[in-house]
């Protein structure tokens, strides 16, 4: 089964500072998703990466997928209180073989201090 490891487990950042979250897979990925979750709420889609070496940005958030499609990073520039929450990476397996389920990492809790 797909194993996804996220690091760090949690982090505290001063408002205005940058932060990076990593997601590592034990297997090659078909697609890598980044979601944000407020405590006890649903998942908000941030970005999906599919091609090796792909990089996408939205506002102050940038996500990258490495060439081997086994590692992704999420980078937030000049963090704001609105960036606080739990960030989750999810992945679809490389060879579907009728496997459609998203596997998730345990999440990274981000706290932004004013």
């Amino acid at each position: 089964s797909q194993e996804l490891e996220q690091s760090p487990q949690s982090l505290i950042v001063q408002e205005g500072k940058n932060l990076t979250i990593n997601c590592t897979s034990s297997k090659t990925l078909y697609g890598l998703y980044w979601y944000k979750q407020k405590y006890g709420e649903g998942l908000i889609f941030l970005m999906m990466l599919q091609k090796g070496g792909e990089e996408k940005s939205h506002e102050k958030i940038t996500a990258k997928l490495d060439e081997k499609k086994q590692q992704s990073s999420l980078h937030i520039t000049a963090s704001q209180p609105s960036h606080a929450g739990i960030y989750l990476c999810g992945a679809l397996p490389h060879r579907p073989n009728n496997d459609y389920k998203l596997s998730f990492g345990a999440g990274t809790t981000v706290t932004v201090r004013a």
Binding site: L4, Y30, G31, Y33, Y35, G40, E41, G42, L43, I44, F45, M48, L88, G90, L92, P96, N98, D99, Y100, K101, L102, S103, F104, G105, A106, G107
Partner: protein, 112 residues
């Protein structure tokens, strides 16, 4: 577009009872998946429905069952509730081609 909707938002049950959770997918999506998220963990896949049939199932006991209706909406049923079933239950919808999955706000189930 209303996105993915789930009901109810919160639910309290006692051990041994049965519960039904409901999900309406995003417009244009025909595939619905259910996930269980325990506190402090990532979501765990329960099962996925497409064309009113269970297409894939995760590592959950038969107490967990589901249904998909012709309008693509779905239900998750859990029988003989255990304390360990307390969790946030998330519904996700997606198009058939394994595209982007959109999640609903979740149903918080508490089993006493």
């Amino acid at each position: 577009d209303a996105g993915v909707t789930q009901s109810p938002t919160h639910l309290i049950k006692t051990r041994g009872q049965q519960v039904t959770l409901r999900c309406s997918p995003k417009s244009g999506h025909d595939t619905v998946s259910w996930y269980q998220q325990a506190l402090g963990q990532g979501p765990q896949f329960i099962f996925q429905y497409y064309e009113e049939e269970e297409r894939q199932r995760g590592n959950f006991p038969d107490r967990f069952s589901g249904h998909q209706f012709p309008n693509y909406s779905s239900e998750l049923n859990v029988n003989a509730l255990l304390l360990g079933d307390s969790a946030l239950y998330l519904c996700a919808s997606s198009p058939l081609d394994r595209g982007q999955a959109f999640f609903g706000p979740g149903t918080r189930l508490t089993v006493l």
